[in-house]
């Protein structure tokens, strides 16, 4: 064969080969659509009255960063261990994952994180602003008062909380039964609030005159006295001995009184207090009959609580209105009028009217009334509509030309009487007061909108304090905006619970713990709607190597000198954490 040189001369090799850098070819000039990183708002976080940054909490949980996840809750809510147990979790109803398979068990994960923090004795590092001159008095150490004091403290104010009872907690301490909220859990979180600088003065009942004298020491007074007096039935026999207020009964149990029952016990009402009373009675040996004048689906109690009450053996008698109560020796006769549905009430529940039927008599050993609570003192309530009063979503603010600003919150103002709404109330009041002190009361309503999570009404303290979350768009990510190709069907974690047989006999906490690996697995199901979890899809898919890593919080940026605007990064982002828009000319 011919030698190599000869072959080379016969077969010349002419190929396109360039040692010039292609960097001179600025392909970015071709672009007419521009991608960019744009974090958005997860629907759960907007549905959470406390505006917790749930998408980020689950992302951190997935990474095993339990302390950071827990701190992320604490920025918006000082009660993760409490809410992880007693919250009715409206967040889960809005979870986009619900359209895919099942919603994330946000509630269970919140509790897991709080328990992990407690077990590991995490010391949170939560940013506090420098001390301001104003001091605020808080009346009532329930969830709204403690939340208000906590958030005001974060904003640099000095707070004194005055509590009539010997221990702080309000309804959390004296109302909610132990099987839903163990006392140690509550004490832990109150200790955290105190550690942040809140001063709680227990056994200190505030009188009406305080409101007028407070301005000597305080620039504002937050009224978070709650609703602790059961409303009247207005029927004959209501005030006889042996008939008890439901909320007072729950308080007695929580104060450690030894009580026991035998035989049928009637509980009148359909709210959470009624259900708590019925379930407590059952645990003390009685047979609970819950008498409600509307239908079961109209009961204001949280659905899950009603379901668990039924599981435990509470009997619900619906469409029965109490008419009178009589005592026969050791027993009581509760006379009830059968009712029927007659259209819909203004609040969406069934309207009712008497049915043409004989009244029924229910013979019981005891009767509890729990048809809703009201303020224990009339002066706890906010004044009616009047000029210069700011009626906000979860609080009412009354600036006064003389005297401290009065703020009413918690159950005194809230439409929905839940712990998380009380937290929302305390937060709203704290932010509103800060705006009021700095810019005057006229600025409050318009400025509050800037700190809404999504479309509100939930507010974010992190956004108010200009944390990273304030960079996000308010747009709430919809299910259609998630690239579900990147997610696999996976069952939701099942909350482990005590056996029903055990629940009937004991006030032990019903919901049991889940392990860290179960929690991580559950958190991994989260779409992290609108949030970048550094999955690197944009980086991997970019055909122009225009996604470049850096040390910014985003961890990467787009090199617009070369990005042609093909949009692959935006399409391949699983969680809609990018935006694509026309290039501005």
């Amino acid at each position: 064969m011919a030698d190599q040189e000869e072959i080379k001369s016969k077969v010349p090799l002419l190929i396109p080969r360039s040692c010039e850098s292609t960097l001179s070819n600025m392909t970015g000039s071709w672009r007419f659509l521009k991608p960019r990183y744009e974090e958005k708002t997860a629907p759960c976080s907007s549905a959470c009255p406390a505006g917790e940054d749930i998408g980020r909490i689950e992302m951190l949980t997935t990474q095993g960063l339990f302390k950071e996840a827990w701190e992320t809750i604490l920025r918006e809510n000082p009660f993760p261990a409490v809410c992880g147990r007693v919250c009715f979790h409206p967040c889960e109803d809005r979870c986009n994952r619900g359209d895919f398979d099942e919603a994330i068990a946000i509630h269970t994960l919140e509790r897991f994180l709080a328990d992990a923090a407690s077990r590991n004795e995490f010391k949170p590092s939560i940013e506090k602003l420098t001390l301001k001159k104003q001091k605020v008095a808080v009346v009532g150490a329930g969830p709204s008062g403690l939340a208000a004091a906590y958030f005001l403290t974060l904003l640099g104010y000095t707070c004194d909380v005055f509590e009539a009872m010997p221990e702080a907690g309000g309804v959390l301490r004296w109302g909610i039964p132990l099987y839903r909220l163990p006392v140690s859990v509550l004490r832990n979180e109150i200790a955290y609030i105190e550690s942040m600088g809140v001063r709680i003065h227990t056994g200190k009942r505030i009188s009406r005159s305080f409101l007028d004298e407070a301005h000597n020491q305080y620039s504002a007074v937050f009224m978070g006295c709650g609703h602790s007096r059961t409303r009247g039935l207005n029927i004959p026999g209501e005030n006889m001995d042996g008939l008890e207020d439901g909320i007072a009964f729950l308080g007695k149990i929580r104060q450690g009184e030894n009580l026991s029952f035998d035989g049928p016990i009637a509980v009148i009402g359909g709210g959470n207090t009624a259900v708590d009373v019925a379930r407590s009675v059952l645990r003390l040996g009685g047979k609970s009959i819950l008498v409600y004048r509307r239908r079961r689906q109209d009961m204001p109690a949280f659905d899950q609580e009603i379901k668990m009450a039924l599981e435990e053996g509470v009997e619900i008698r619906e469409l029965l209105a109490p008419v009178k109560i009589e005592k026969n020796g050791t027993e009581y006769t509760l006379t009830v009028q059968p009712m029927r549905v007659a259209g819909t009430d203004t609040d969406g529940r069934a309207a009712i009217e008497p049915r043409d039927e004989q009244n029924e008599e229910i013979i019981v050993q005891r009767i509890f009334k729990a048809i809703g609570e009201e303020a224990a003192e009339d002066w706890y309530n906010p004044p009616g509509e009047r000029e210069k009063i700011l009626t906000l979503d979860n609080s009412i603010i009354m600036p006064r030309s003389e005297g401290a600003v009065l703020v009413f919150g918690g159950d005194l103002t809230n439409q929905i009487k839940s712990v998380v709404h009380a937290v929302a109330s305390g937060k709203e009041a704290a932010i509103a007061l800060d705006i009021l002190f700095q810019e005057g009361s006229d600025a409050v309503e318009s400025r509050l909108k800037d700190y809404a999570v999504g479309n509100g009404p939930s507010l974010s303290m992190e956004i108010y304090m200009a944390g990273p979350r304030s960079e996000r768009e308010n747009h709430i990510v919809e299910y259609d905006e998630i690239n579900t190709d990147y997610f696999e069907l996976a069952p939701r974690v099942t909350q482990p619970r005590l056996l029903i047989e055990e629940r009937r006999k004991t006030f032990e906490e019903i919901d049991l713990k889940i392990s860290a690996n179960v929690a991580i697995k559950e958190a991994e199901r989260c779409f992290n709607c609108g949030l970048c979890n550094q999955c690197d899809n944009c980086y991997l898919f970019c055909p122009d190597i225009s996604i470049q890593k850096d040390n910014s919080p985003q961890g990467r940026h787009i090199n617009y000198d070369y990005c042609k605007g093909c949009g692959i990064c935006v399409v391949e982002c699983p969680r809609n954490a990018m935006a694509f828009e026309e290039e501005s000319t």
Binding site: M1, K10, P16, R17, C19
Partner: protein, 385 residues
């Protein structure tokens, strides 16, 4: 050492002996055995190569374009639809002057869905700039793969070694599998004439303007022409070591033949028997086996066919609207010669139908009994439908 092996294993053994560095492939019947053997060799260390599992044939060849650009021996194998999917990159591999070797097992194209022999898949790629060799038996397959690397690396062109589905890919025959040492002597380590190098970065295959593109194309044409001559040199060297040679074409009893049958692939073996039988009956018949289809050995074909009275080309393929593809090429090769014989085109054995001795004899007698072809293409054994 002679071993009884499947045609597919003959391919795999040759790839092993060629010390290929990267194999990238996607499974498709009837090619799958080839890459199964190779993946085992890679797994058990018999062959020190990276085996890339890719998601399509398009990716399989794209990956090899990358690996071959770094100057290492690269191999793939495919069939039918898989080759069709590679089409774009077939052009790229030759245009980029990368000596990739591919085993292509002829498979009919769908629909109707058919996994059996039909040459249309590879012949449809005749304009992609790949050298194409059609093999008759397992030994030729093994030898051709080794030769393909030698030839491809000399001229910087990719090579397709083609074998019939099942009749060759899945048939067990005795094959002499040489030792490594003589193979190393025949096929020294690859010394690429260019390669990507992170120490000396460059980009390959970038924009070429009208003032240079034609020269690059012409350059490929020159390389193809040279490949025809170098193929003979490569065969000479191979024969010197292994004592086997096949030729770009192989004439059998053509010297005095009045009618010459032109075949490719496994049909050739059947045809050898038919020629023997007809000769014993006194018929002056010859056989021309075409092994090298690209570059097409026009001069050799002219030398061997112009003296015959008639030529009968057997095509196991068809170009719709024209004729059998070998017949087209033979006609084109002959048309500028003086008083060339008429070329009869026969279509047989599409989609795996057997081409028996009877079919080939019928072709012979039909050619003998007609002065000129009745039609451009005569379809053999068509059933009433």
């Amino acid at each position: 050492m002679k071993r009884v092996v499947e045609g597919s294993q003959a391919v795999a053994e040759a790839v092993r002996l060629a010390k290929v560095n990267v194999i990238s492939a996607y499974p498709i019947t009837p090619q799958t055995h080839i890459v199964e053997f190779l993946s085992e060799y890679c797994a058990n260390g018999t062959l020190n190569a990276r085996f890339l599992r890719v998601e399509s044939e398009h990716s399989a060849l794209a990956a090899l374009i990358g690996t071959a650009s770094t100057g290492i021996r690269s191999f793939t194998a495919t069939s039918g639809q898989g080759l069709a999917l590679m089409h774009e990159l077939l052009h790229w591999a030759s245009g980029a002057r990368l000596p990739i070797v591919m085993a292509e097992v002829n498979r009919a194209l769908a629909p109707g869905w058919n996994i059996w022999i039909d040459q249309t898949d590879s012949l449809a790629q005749r304009d992609t700039g790949w050298i194409q060799m059609y093999c008759e038996h397992g030994q030729e397959v093994l030898d051709s793969i080794i030769q393909a690397y030698r030839l491809g690396e000399l001229v910087n062109l990719p090579v397709m070694v083609v074998l019939d589905a099942f009749y060759l890919s899945h048939t067990y025959e005795p094959v002499d599998i040489p030792d490594q040492e003589p193979v190393d002597r025949f096929l020294p380590p690859y010394e690429p004439k260019f390669q990507l190098d992170t120490e000396d970065p460059c980009d390959l295959g970038s924009l070429v303007t009208p003032n240079a593109y034609m020269e690059m194309r012409h350059n490929i044409a020159v390389a193809m022409e040279e490949a025809l001559f170098l193929f003979q040199d490569v065969e000479n060297e191979f024969k010197a070591i292994f004592d086997r040679r096949y030729g770009a074409i192989e004439p059998v009893a053509c010297d005095d033949a009045e009618i010459i049958l032109v075949t490719s692939g496994t049909v050739t073996s059947t045809c050898r028997q038919v020629v023997d039988d007809l000769r014993s009956q006194g018929e002056r018949v010859g056989l021309l086996k075409v092994k090298l289809f690209r570059p097409f050995p026009v001069d050799l074909i002219r030398q061997n066919l112009t003296s015959a009275k008639k030529i009968a080309v057997i095509d196991r393929n068809f170009s719709f609207g024209a004729s059998g593809i070998f017949a087209q090429e033979i006609r084109a090769a002959l048309c500028n010669t003086h008083k060339h014989p008429p070329v009869f085109g026969y279509i047989a054995g599409l989609g795996g139908r057997d081409v028996t001795e009877d079919v080939l004899e019928e072709i012979y007698w039909n050619t003998k009994n007609n002065e000129v072809p009745e039609k451009e293409s005569i379809w053999m054994g068509l059933q009433e439908v």
